[in-house]
């Protein structure tokens, strides 16, 4: 019977530092033999002993360690895509465990309950992350042991979405497609104050309230108002170039969502009718990310 965390699938190997010393140790030994130098013998045996100790320490480094990968939240291009795995197992081993994906390792979990990996994104689109792994090393970082997270033996791995980075300098102006209820929204009527959110322009800042409360406060025109519906069309941003246009559309959709408006997209070959809510926002941003069949890129 096998226990969780002790199953097969462990991959043990020296790290680059380990390889360097692994090659240096026999070379030092030959140097010592050639010149009958006891001091060089000492040095080579010390390096060799460190390697042996590191190998022994790493051998069972992931025994008893389990990790549950949290769903990977989408990220905007240029911003970190964060992978998080909740760890369980002996604390003495857990604190050195890192999360690893796409050939990059996160920092050791330390005393935190999660191992975290921040990947710097560069281009929009779906990004295949493969099968993330847990990795641990000995104190000297000479050997590492890895194991795939979860039971991914039949899977192609997980996928994360990288949305186009919103261009807040020139968000797309959607076309109003009609009222969804109540009276028309009038921007001149201030309904109240609320904390600042991304997408709010400096014009809307309520400076006096900001100074009084010590946090950015903006005027709220939405509260109590009837919702409108906006359709963001590719034709409206076509002159800006494909990626810049997608960034503007991204900013427009997000802005509309934050203002409580129903937002939709009209892209070549794809139309998403306006609707409200986070799910609709995700749908729109996903559609923008997948536009043109591009895949995500890391920096």
């Amino acid at each position: 019977m096998s226990m969780p965390g002790t199953s097969a699938g462990l991959r043990r190997a020296p790290t680059p530092q380990g390889w360097a010393l692994l090659m240096a140790a026999p070379a030092l030994f030959l140097l010592a033999v050639n010149y009958s130098s006891n001091l060089v013998f000492t040095l080579s045996f010390l390096v060799l002993s460190l390697m042996i100790n590191a190998g022994i320490a790493t051998w069972r480094g992931l025994d008893g360690i389990e990790g549950n990968l949290a769903p990977v939240a989408p990220a905007f291009a240029g911003e970190p895509l964060t992978l998080t795995a909740r760890l369980s197992g002996p604390a003495t081993r857990r604190w050195a465990v890192r999360l690893r994906a796409l050939g990059r390792s996160g920092p050791p979990a330390g005393e935190a309950p999660d191992a975290r990996l921040d990947l710097c994104t560069a281009g929009r689109g779906p990004l295949a992350l493969g099968i993330p792994e847990l990795e641990t090393r000995d104190a000297l970082g000479l050997f590492r042991v890895r194991r795939a997270l979860g039971n991914h033996s039949d899977d192609a791995g997980i996928e994360a979405m990288i949305w186009p980075a919103p261009d807040w300098t020139a968000p797309a102006e959607g076309v109003e497609t009609g009222l969804s209820g109540g009276r028309a929204w009038n921007r001149d009527e201030i309904a109240g104050l609320r904390p600042w959110r991304h997408g709010d322009t400096p014009v809307d800042m309520a400076w006096r309230a900001t100074m009084r409360r010590g946090e950015p406060i903006v005027r709220d025109y939405e509260a109590g108002h009837a919702r409108g519906a906006r359709l963001f069309s590719w034709s409206g941003v076509a002159g800006a170039g494909p990626e810049a246009g997608l960034s503007r559309l991204s900013a427009g959709v997000i802005s509309a969502n934050r203002q409580g408006l129903a937002a939709g997209l009209d892209l070549p070959g794809l139309r998403i009718d306006p609707a409200e809510g986070e799910a609709q926002l995700g749908l729109c941003l996903d559609a923008l990310a997948r536009h043109g069949g591009r895949t995500g890129r890391l920096a």
Binding site: G5, P16, A20, L39, L46, S49, P108, G110, R137
Partner: protein, 728 residues
């Protein structure tokens, strides 16, 4: 859904933790400090021996490295590296050891300067270790021992810094654990004397092409000048490998003392124009064959037999006829013969590697009669040659006492003469006069030649024997490797009462320690091991028993060595001077055979002792941690620890019963029932009124609780415990 906004942190282009951004960069910088210190240490231990240019260049490289670490610029490292390397190489030879070391220093420093990844730092670290190791070859001593310790510590600190500051205690613990293992490896790894080339040849590895061996060899010949041996002794060309057999009774056991291994080659009879020549006409095969001696006659030449030494010989090509044997040949290899003066010769020149079994008499007195022809030959001196030596011979000669005369000659050479391998031929008309009265420093050829002339001038027949002495004994093997640098010349004098007696006037003066001190920093020193038997065998005047003519001076020399060793610290005796001989002593002290097997046995015993000590320490630590706890509490701790090894860790606020149930779920349905059943037992013991805990049963139970399999008895014991549980 939380949307990342404009304020989200932007990472380095290389992808944050996986690349050199954020915390990774910080760790890289943290590791650069000890790495730079290691490189500086490596440069420091070498720079004392470098010329000024090398030192300046290496320091410049270190400076650039520090600047680059501070402010990285990609193009700086290769450009500066190329300039520094060019500057260095313009000052030194390409292939010199100094150039190599300085280039390693430059490359490592610049690599550290442009380090962007952990592997760059690792390369610089290895460079630092190499520099330290090369520095150790210059002058092993207390300072270098400190350098090695410092290098190990800096290596560990740098590696730990790459992993994060929090790992430093663990890294130091790893270093502490590595030290005993290092000691075991150091003490019990079989030591083999000699360089890798020697080892490879002794093991029969075809590392060097034989034509190169031929090219490098100075062929030994039937003609010799005083300084020729010294010239030949400067080359590393391979001559022979002898593999000795172990024996008992009348057979010599293993390798004789290296100092007694005189590999006999040409015997030179004629002294003419400062040159020693072999018998006339021996260039022709017919003349050589006529001078051979049959085996039966050879045995008759023995006055007193000693022990037989058996060995296998491998001779490398040298294009002449001589084969070699130490001592007095007791057998003749195929296609060879022994001459009247006991030269072992092949029928044809040796043009390829030859293998042959051989045996020799050790500690023998040989030579029954000396023919008139040979006596005349062994006394002949050109009439006008070496006038000052002749006058000196007349002074030291003791009438009617050849042995006293011989001893006086040896004493004369011992006093006031120096030994130096680099002295070449004195040249001129009377080279022996020049050596004895002007130069007074020489190598074996000078001393042997002078002694032979002196003896002849005193009326004692003498001849020169050319060949090799000693060699390199490959530790823990019975192999002796002889190279051209072991070339040697000695004298044989005829004493009517004892036959031909070998006299080696240079033997006492050849202090190996003095030689070693003059060798360059790479320690290209072959182990010219002095023999354990310092006496030179010369017979007593009145009888057949040999007298140790030079025992006084030799024992003084050895006593000096012993005093040196007695004054040395333990680290010097057991670290710096630790070698194959000391390993053998160690094995003998443990009553084990001096072999690899013995070493492995001792190493295993030492490792077992260490493991036992570690277990004791762990046991004591556990006892300290659990003392004061009740048996049930101790059992609980152990159960939790055992389950934790399988990944089942009890949460802080988790009750024992629920933890055992959770653990049971994790390991499977059957064991879930079993483990959950333990809860009431422990609860009753821990919180019940009696506090009774069935320790023995619980121990048996605990042995079966592991991650992989549970013994079927587990369930029966569990049910037994459950049925007999105390009532709460």
């Amino acid at each position: 859904m939380t949307l990342p906004g404009r304020g989200a942190p932007r990472l380095h282009r290389h992808g944050g933790p996986g690349g050199p951004g954020g915390f990774y960069r910080q760790r890289l910088h943290a590791a650069c400090v000890p790495t730079a210190a290691l490189l500086i240490l490596g440069v420091a231990v070498n720079m004392l021996h470098w010329p000024l240019a090398g030192t300046a260049v290496a320091l410049a490289a270190a400076l650039v490295a520090v600047l680059l670490t501070w402010r990285p610029r990609r193009w700086v490292a290769p450009v500066v590296g190329a300039i520094l390397a060019a500057a260095l190489l313009s000052q030194q030879r390409w292939q010199s050891g100094d150039s190599l070391t300085a280039l390693i220093a430059i490359a490592s420093c610049l690599k550290l300067g442009e380090a962007e990844r952990s592997r760059d730092v690792a390369v610089a670290l290895v460079g630092g270790i190499w520099l330290t190791a090369l520095g150790c070859l210059w002058e092993p001593g207390a300072a270098m021992l400190g350098a090695v310790a410092g290098a190990g510590l800096l290596l560990v600190v740098a590696l730990a810094a790459l992993e994060g500051r929090s790992r430093l205690p663990g890294a130091l613990r790893a270093l502490a654990l590595a030290l005993p293992m290092t000691a075991i490896l150091f003490a019990f790894t079989p030591r083999v004397t000699g360089d890798l080339g020697v080892l490879a040849f002794a093991l029969g590895l075809p590392l060097v092409i034989e034509t190169e061996v031929e090219k490098n060899r100075t062929p030994i010949d039937n003609q010799l000048s005083m300084g020729e041996v010294a010239e030949r002794a400067g080359t590393d060309a391979r001559v022979l490998v002898a593999s000795f057999y172990n024996g008992a009774g009348g057979i010599y056991d293993g390798v004789p003392p290296l100092g007694d291994l005189y590999w006999r080659g040409p015997v030179l009879w004629t002294y003419q124009d400062g040159q020693w020549l072999g018998r006339k006409g021996w260039e022709q095969r017919g003349a050589r064959m006529r001078g051979r001696i049959r085996m039966k006659a050879l045995k008759d030449e023995l006055r007193e037999a000693g022990k037989l030494s058996f060995y296998d010989m491998t001779i490398f090509p040298h294009r002449t006829h001589w084969l070699y044997a130490h001592g007095f040949p007791a057998a003749v290899p195929p296609s060879s013969f022994v001459s009247r003066d006991w030269q072992l010769q092949n029928m044809n020149p040796v043009r390829e590697v030859l293998h042959y079994p051989m045996m020799s008499w050790v500690d023998v007195q040989s030579g029954v009669t000396l023919s008139d022809e040979d006596r005349a030959l062994a006394l002949a001196l050109p009439e006008t040659a070496e006038p000052r030596t002749r006058a000196l011979a007349a002074e030291i000669a003791v009438p009617d006492d050849p042995l006293a005369t011989a001893r006086a000659g040896v004493r004369l050479l011992e006093e006031g003469y120096g030994y130096n391998k680099s002295i070449r031929d004195p040249g001129g008309e009377n080279p022996v006069d020049r050596f004895l009265f002007d130069i007074k420093i020489g190598f074996a050829g000078h001393f042997a030649s002078a002694y032979a002339v002196l003896m002849r001038a005193s009326g004692i027949p003498a001849r020169l024997v050319s060949g090799y002495r000693g060699g390199v004994h490959l530790g823990l093997t019975n192999r002796v490797f002889v190279m051209e640098k072991d070339a040697y010349v000695w004298t044989e004098v005829w004493l009517d009462s004892h036959g031909w007696v070998r006299v080696d006037p240079a033997r006492t003066l050849s202090n190996p320690r003095a030689d070693q001190a003059s060798i360059d920093g790479f320690g290209l020193v072959d182990a010219v091991e002095e023999d354990d038997r310092p006496e030179e065998v010369l017979p007593e005047t009145s009888g057949a028993a040999p007298v140790h003519l030079r025992i006084e001076s030799d024992t003084e020399l050895l006593r000096g060595d012993e005093n040196d060793m007695a004054d040395a610290g333990w680290w010097e005796r057991w670290l710096l001077d630790f070698d194959a001989r000391r390993q053998i002593e160690m094995l003998e002290a443990a009553a084990l055979e001096a072999s690899w097997r013995g070493l492995v046995l001792i190493a295993g015993a030492a490792a077992a002792a260490l493991a036992a000590a570690a277990l004791v320490v762990m046991g004591v630590a556990q006892w300290i941690a659990t003392r004061g706890l009740s048996p049930a509490e101790r059992f609980c701790v152990r159960l939790e620890r055992r389950l934790a090894r399988g990944g089942l860790v009890r949460a802080r606020a988790e009750g024992l019963q629920s933890f055992l149930e959770r653990a049971g779920h994790a390991v499977g349905a059957e064991q879930a029932v079993a483990l959950a059943g333990l809860g009431p037992m422990l609860r009753a013991a821990l919180y019940g009124p009696t506090g009774h805990f069935p320790t023995l049963e619980a121990e048996r139970l605990l042995r079966n609780v592991n991650q992989r399999s549970i013994d079927p008895k587990f369930f029966s014991i569990l049910s037994h415990l459950y049925r007999n549980r105390p009532k709460v």
